[in-house]
């Protein structure tokens, strides 16, 4: 039986928990490319997903995962060719990624996972990323009468921040980039894709437009067939912690949410597709 290792990378509010909850609902009740195994039935420990599953059934968003949390759900899966897969899906507070960037250090347990992983899942919520426009041409007009400002707080552009995070992760995992990487495979999920408006264009164009430096970094350092960029809306709409969305309550969370495949086109309800690609099923 295959027991692939995946690493899930996403900052705070990037939708990790909602994706995990919705993914489980799909595998359980609306299987697609991947489904839960019949013989083993329900995972033995669902406590990591308990909160999010309850919230979604009530039509509201789940609480924020606290910073120190690190939990795992083991999902006994089977692909369309009846190959058994034991997938350990992690859930943790996204602040751990911020901490990694701030301290420029990776905890040992993360490092071991990164080094052994077959695939990395990178969740980026484009709407929440801050990149700064520059005013290079403006400088000419402002050069005269300039007050000498000597201090300037450096707020990192989201482009540089993500590149630095990826560089640190690659380095501690012992992965050099002189030749493009074939492993780990990288699935970039542009989360909360519904916030960006509808478009049939491939998601990689969205990434290239919003975070060009990150897009160039990924395309430079991964083999084209080892990376795929998806649009992900785990809920299909915005929910907040107070809402009681009737569609979620009446139709069930398993009928909400979609992904846009790397080629673009219409949304697809099978949320397990990015994972199936990572695991080499697609």
């Amino acid at each position: 039986m295959a027991t692939p290792e995946l690493v899930l990378l996403g900052g705070p509010d990037s939708g990790k928990t909602h994706f995990a909850g919705q993914l489980y609902g799909r595998l359980r009740r609306r299987p697609g490319a991947l489904r839960l195994r019949q013989d083993k039935g329900t995972p033995s420990d669902l406590s990591a997903l308990e909160e999010v599953l309850r919230c979604l059934e009530e039509g509201r968003a789940a609480e924020h995962t606290s910073a120190g949390v690190w939990e795992e759900v083991t999902l006994p899966l089977v692909d369309s060719n009846d190959h058994a897969i034991e997938l350990r899906w992690p859930d943790y507070g996204g602040e751990q990624l911020d901490e990694l960037f701030r301290l420029r250090a990776v905890r040992e347990e993360w490092r071991a996972r990164l080094a052994n992983a077959d695939g990395w899942v990178l969740l980026i919520r484009l709407n929440a990323e801050t990149s700064y426009p520059d005013a290079l041409e403006e400088l000419l007009h402002r050069a005269e009468g300039q007050v000498g400002v000597t201090e300037r707080s450096v707020k990192w552009d989201a482009n540089a921040r993500w590149v630095e995070i990826l560089q640190i992760l690659l380095h501690v995992a012992g992965l050099g980039t002189v030749t493009p990487l074939q492993r780990p495979r990288l699935a970039v999920l542009l989360s909360c894709y519904d916030e960006l408006g509808t478009s049939l264009a491939p998601p990689r164009e969205r990434l290239m437009k919003t975070l060009p430096l990150v897009s160039a970094f990924i395309e430079s350092n991964w083999e084209p067939r080892a990376v795929s960029i998806w649009g992900l809306s785990a809920l299909g709409r915005a929910l907040d912690r107070e809402s009681t969305d009737d569609t979620f309550i009446d139709e069930g969370p398993e009928n909400q949410g979609w992904v846009v495949s790397p080629e673009g086109g219409a949304p697809d309800a099978d949320l397990s597709k990015p994972l199936a690609w990572l695991l080499g099923v697609l």
């Binding site: 301290l103 420029r104 250090a105 990776v106 905890r107 040992e108 490092r111 990149s131 700064y132 426009p133 520059d134 005013a135 290079l136 041409e137 403006e138 400088l139 000419l140 402002r142 050069a143 300039q146 000498g148 400002v149 000597t150 300037r152 707080s153 450096v154 707020k155 990192w156 552009d157 482009n159 540089a160 590149v163 630095e164 560089q167 640190i168 380095h171 501690v172 050099g176 980039t177 002189v178 030749t179 493009p180 290239m208 060009p212 430096l213 897009s215 160039a216 970094f217 395309e219 430079s220 350092n221």
Partner: protein, 317 residues
């Protein structure tokens, strides 16, 4: 602050142990160091760190980079306020917008902190601080310039580590006047090690009231550089060309260039046209991207006597 006895180890700044020890307390070099404070500044005791800080690179950092592939060092040479730092910043901002440089895509950088602090000067991120030119590069006493790094991947998948010197202009004016001046060590290091040169001629000064001294400064730099360039790719960058100098002055600088460095090319740039800043860097990068082809070895004629020229039976095998 406690620091390692190894000069090349920057564990006290939060980087990896130079000897590769995971737990810094177990490293004999660290333990044998000057124990004035207790521990490295790290809340997570056993964690993997990286050997770069994001700031401009120094000589000991190069040891981490040079083994991984072909490194290109571009010496950015010019007098004070000629636009060297602005040229570098403009290229980083172009990459941030998704532009390629010399048909090569961005593939990483060890000095993102340094790039970001340069780029911060040209941004509208704070209403209280309008964008302005980056401040003067500090002269300092360092013997080597701060090096800014970009990793690039070319169209054919070839990987290059590009290092750009961000050095104060005074180094070069001092070096142009007195080659072995103590405070021109940084300039000498650049000239000795660079794979290509960008020489900036400040058009604003060449067109302004101080055009005489400005012409003198750039001609002195060109004359001096001419002794050292040999075949290395060199480009004269007419910076701030939105204020063009007179044809006479331009001609005189060109004459000095063609005498000192006949193979040099000329490029104009201005921040009015941001593409021109990228073209300026490309002028040095494109010819230096591939190493010069090896020339066939020609055996010198040591003696005209055929007997003495005989080099053994295997001489031609």
């Amino acid at each position: 602050m406690k620091r390692c006895v190894q000069a090349a180890c920057f564990a006290h700044e939060g980087e990896t142990c130079h000897m590769g020890t995971m737990d810094i307390a177990e490293c004999p070099h660290w333990s044998g160091g000057d124990a004035r404070t207790e521990a490295p500044p790290s809340p997570c005791p056993l964690s993997a760190r990286v050997p770069w800080s994001g700031c401009a690179l120094g000589l000991s950092d190069l040891a981490n980079l040079t083994p991984r592939g072909r490194t290109l060092l571009v010496g950015v040479v010019g007098a004070h306020d000629a636009g060297k730092t602005t040229l570098l910043t403009g290229n980083y901002l172009a990459l941030l917008r998704g532009r390629q440089v010399a048909d090569a895509r961005f593939a990483g950088s060890r000095t993102l902190q340094a790039w970001e602090s340069l780029a911060a000067w040209a941004r509208f991120d704070d209403a209280a601080r309008p964008p302005s030119f980056p401040p003067h590069t500090p002269r300092g006493t360092s013997r080597v310039p701060g090096l800014l790094h970009l990793a690039l991947r070319g169209a054919r998948g070839d990987f290059r580590d590009l290092l750009l010197t961000d050095a104060p202009g005074e180094w070069f004016t001092r070096w142009a006047i007195q080659e072995d001046a103590v405070d021109a060590e940084g300039a000498r290091w650049i000239v000795r090690n660079a794979d290509a040169f960008l020489v900036l001629a400040d058009c604003q000064r060449l067109a302004g009231p101080t055009r005489g001294p400005a012409r003198n400064a750039i001609r002195q730099i060109l004359d001096r550089l001419g002794n050292h360039v040999h075949g290395r790719p060199t480009a004269l960058i007419w910076s701030k060309v939105d204020q063009p100098p007179s044809d006479v002055i331009r001609g005189q600088v060109r004459d000095a260039l063609s005498q000192a460095i006949p193979h040099a090319i000329e490029v104009e740039c201005t921040i009015r046209e941001r593409e021109s800043l990228v073209r300026a860097l490309e002028a040095a990068l494109r010819p230096a991207w591939l190493p010069p082809l090896a020339r066939s070895v020609r055996e010198p004629v040591l003696n005209v006597e055929p007997f003495l020229a005989f080099r053994g039976l295997h001489g031609h095998s």
